[in-house]
């Protein structure tokens, strides 16, 4: 009788095993974003783009050399950006690493009113009306956030809204592990 019963428990057992594998898979799935970006470990694309708050000025990658920075691609049309905005403000308050925004395919007036209403987490915001810059960065959907080191190398990429988890587990350790002189 016992052997008979085991036969019917087998599917449940196999399924339980599979569920464990899937659970591990889900926990690791953000890693896939790292593998997916061809920019990782390579130099960030050099840029010189109009500044959203003052179009006569430009935001240039050359000025950022020697510092860690987060490169955050956003737009007022993007729901995920709205979702991560509070997190970005927290990052700004933490003061560990500045955020450079790329306002992607957006209306300047809309973007400015967004920042004045919701608060501005960015050190500076570059505008990308044509979407050309985002192509250089290999962006396929907003929001996306890149972590660039003082040598101008992209060391981490996060797809989707920035979460406190990503911040404490992925970004903060990388920035604080670097030798003090380099940041």
């Amino acid at each position: 009788m016992t052997r008979f019963m085991t036969r019917f428990l087998l599917p449940l057992g196999i399924f339980a095993l599979l569920a464990v594998v899937l659970a591990i898979g889900i926990r690791h799935s953000p890693d896939k974003g790292i593998i997916a970006s061809p920019l990782l470990g390579k130099s960030a694309p050099p840029f010189s783009l109009p500044n959203l708050t003052d179009p006569t000025q430009s935001v240039r990658s050359a000025d950022l050399k020697g510092h860690w920075y987060l490169f955050n691609v956003w737009g007022t049309w993007c729901g995920g950006c709205r979702e991560e905005h509070e997190m970005l403000l927290q990052v700004r308050r933490a003061g560990v690493v500045p955020i450079i925004g790329l306002d992607w395919k957006d209306d300047d007036a809309q973007a400015l009113s967004w920042l004045s209403q919701l608060g501005n987490p960015y050190q500076s915001v570059a505008t990308d009306h044509s979407g050309r810059e985002a192509i250089e960065w290999g962006v396929y959907g907003a929001p996306e956030t890149f972590l660039v080191n003082p040598q101008g190398i992209v060391v981490y990429k996060h797809i989707g809204a920035l979460t406190p988890d990503t911040w404490t587990r992925e970004i903060l350790p990388r920035v604080s592990a670097a030798p003090a002189g380099s940041s």
Partner: protein, 651 residues
């Protein structure tokens, strides 16, 4: 206003689904017939609420309400009206809503068709369906609400993913989902039988038409998806063993096994626990298919950015749903005994082989699809599994299956006296072998080892499946729709085998670089490139190349493949140009601009490739025919007659 109305309707639908599940499962369990009767009211209410929510979201798309985040992310003011409507299921949230809508539709269909079911059993079926719907609605509301607002609203939308801007999108996902969701009905019937602790031949007769109908939709959906990928993605293949394709193929394989196993349970009262397991498995794989694509667990061409909260919710839902059903199975199935026996050469044996081989095929596809995930989670490195794995392993179980089909179709129920049909068997096989080898070497004069084998098997199935209906017809008997449907579906399979063999053996692919006026000769066809010209679409710019196609100098067609550049999504898509000529499928795709007017052009000539989709469609038609047999509609008389019920098994 409309998005809030839709959101509110979804919340009400969730509550009604909860009631439906509660009354449906608790009512019969506690023998409260009033509760059982209340279930249909909950079903109707839920269906109305879900339909309202969907209508609201469609209205938001049509009226270009870019204050709704989902609309802003998947539509644009320049997007044509037709795609503004189909954009509903262009991404995760809307796809879920579509799933829920289809589940509501299937549930209503079950209510309308359940007049012949005993009240308590019907309540249990609807209760399980309510539970599934509840899970999906909760998931949507908690993690993927399509009605979220943007403040301030977006000035314009991000546009629908250009790959999805195609008439194929309008029909492919809804039909595929109809198939997926249809297996929920078989699942609910299985769970209801286990809750009831009773499974007789009537049960199989009730379940069969629903399962076969779902299977037909799934067959159609997969074929449309394959066709869509062929001409829209421009990669020039009809099947890539991509995780998303596999996700729809696995429930199809198990569903096919289920359709056959149900036949045995219906006719002979055997394979009971096996049928239950297959019903659970088919729906589990449908759920897994829905979610694998959406959760970002597996990254593939079609999937979306990873979202861990969604993934965890999905996993919990799967564990509760499938784990619950399998627990019920472990508890109840041992009590279902089949007393009848059968001989080795009987039809039952062949259907058992069919089931085993189909499940093995599904398991190999499953292993190949999940292998990258498993190796990744065990830190064995990133692994990629492709056609070199899938093609041979899949063939390993398919070839014997096809051969056994031709033999098994002649076998009788219960008794294994195959020698009676020895002559027919031999005759059909010899005819098929002669035709198969003759055609292969007559038309193409070359081929691979598998070419004559595939052709022979295909023709053998074609001939064998005709034997029984032709015999009945000659003896002046009526061919019932169930038999007719089976014959049509098997012939569809045979045609698919023939088409696949031909395509795999005789496809010619070439990438050429052509300057204006340049010529290329591929196979029997010549191609002259007449340069490119700009084309303007509503929301894209394109260049169209002009190629004059001739065959041995005789004109065939002028084809204009395009390369489109969508403004808003900054995405480039390739619009292939396809011409069907003398059984050959000539496909042209425009590649890269090589400068100085030169372009790279991909030329592919695939013989009989269209037959693959036509064959799949024939299979689906066969399923529809079988599902509509009167036999399943007259089952009511059998239920009410006390003689029949006592023949059923009670625990």
């Amino acid at each position: 206003m409309l998005p809030e109305l839709g959101h509110f309707a979804l919340i009400l639908a969730l509550l009604l689904a909860g009631l439906q599940a509660f009354f449906g499962i608790a009512g019969p369990g506690l023998a409260r017939d009033r509760w059982s009767q209340a279930v249909t009211t909950a079903v109707a209410g839920q269906a109305v609420m879900v339909a309202t929510a969907v209508a609201c979201l469609i209205a938001c798309f049509v009226s270009e309400d870019f204050s709704v985040a989902y609309v802003a992310e998947n539509s644009n003011s320049a997007l044509p009206l037709f795609y503004r409507v189909t954009a509903l299921w262009g991404a995760h949230e809307g796809s879920l809503l579509l799933w829920i809508l289809l589940l509501a539709a299937w549930t209503v269909a079950v209510v309308l068709g359940s007049g012949r079911l005993p009240t308590r059993f019907a309540a249990r079926v609807l209760g399980v369906l309510g539970l599934v719907s509840f899970g999906f609605l909760l998931f949507t509301l908690a993690t993927s609400n399509p009605f979220l607002r943007l403040d301030p609203p977006a000035p314009d939308g991000r546009d629908l993913n250009p790959i999805l801007q195609d008439p194929g999108l309008a029909v492919h996902p809804p039909i595929l989902y109809t198939g997926y969701v249809g297996f929920a009905v078989a699942f609910a019937f299985a769970c209801a039988a286990m809750l009831e602790g009773r499974l007789d031949q009537n049960w199989a007769r009730w379940t069969r038409p629903w399962t076969t109908a779902a299977w037909s939709f799934l067959t159609c959906g997969i074929a449309l998806g394959s066709f869509w990928a062929y001409y829209e993605l421009g990669w020039g293949g009809f099947w890539f063993w991509d995780p998303v394709e596999n996700a729809s193929f696995m429930p199809w394989l198990v569903g096919t096994a289920l359709v056959h196993s149900l036949a045995v349970t219906d006719k002979r009262g055997l394979f009971k626990s096996w049928t239950l397991l297959l019903a659970i498995l088919a729906f589990s794989l449908s759920l897994l298919g829905t979610f694998l694509v959406r959760s970002g667990v597996l990254v593939s061409v079609h999937s979306f950015a990873a979202d861990p909260t969604r993934g965890i919710f999905i996993l919990v839902f799967l564990v509760l749903m499938i784990g619950g059903a399998l627990t019920l199975y472990a508890w109840r199935a041992p009590l279902l005994r089949s007393t009848a026996g059968f001989e080795l050469g009987a039809r039952e044996s062949f259907l058992l082989f069919n089931n085993v081989l189909l499940v093995i095929a599904a398991a190999t596809v499953f292993a190949g699809t999940l292998a990258p995930l498993i190796s990744d989670s065990l830190k064995l490195g990133t692994l990629s599994v492709g056609p070199p794995y899938f093609n041979p392993t899949f063939m390993l179980s398919m070839l014997p299956l096809l051969a056994l089909l031709s033999v098994g179709i002649h076998a009788n129920w219960k008794r294994g006296r195959l020698q009676d049909s020895q002559r027919t068997l031999l005759l059909t096989f010899v005819a098929a072998a002669v035709l198969g080898c003759g055609l292969t070497f007559g038309i193409y004069s070359h081929g691979r080892l598998l070419t004559p084998i595939g052709a022979t098997l295909g023709i053998w199935i074609l001939l064998s499946s005709l034997v029984d209906p032709v015999d009945r017809w000659r003896r002046g008997m009526v061919v019932p729709r169930a038999v007719l449907g089976m014959t049509v579906a098997h012939m569809g399979l045979a045609l698919a085998v023939i088409a696949l063999t031909t395509v795999q053996s005789f496809t010619i692919e070439r990438d050429v670089s052509l300057a204006p006026g340049g010529m290329a000769k591929v196979g029997d066809y010549e191609f002259r490139f007449d340069g490119v010209r700009p084309v303007e679409g509503p929301n894209y710019d394109a260049v169209a190349g002009t190629l004059v196609v001739t065959r041995h100098g005789a004109p065939v067609a002028v084809l204009t493949p395009q390369k489109r550049h969508y403004f808003v999504q900054r995405q480039v898509t390739s619009e292939t140009a396809i011409r069907w000529h003398r059984g050959n499928n000539v496909l042209l795709a425009l590649g890269e601009d090589l400068g100085a007017g030169r372009w790279s052009v991909r030329i592919q000539i695939r013989p009989l490739v269209s037959l693959i989709w036509i064959a799949a469609f024939i299979m689906a038609v066969g399923g529809a025919l079988a599902a509509s047999d009167r036999r399943y509609r007259t089952a009511r008389a059998l239920v009410t007659s006390p003689g029949e019920t006592s023949a059923g098994q009670t625990i």
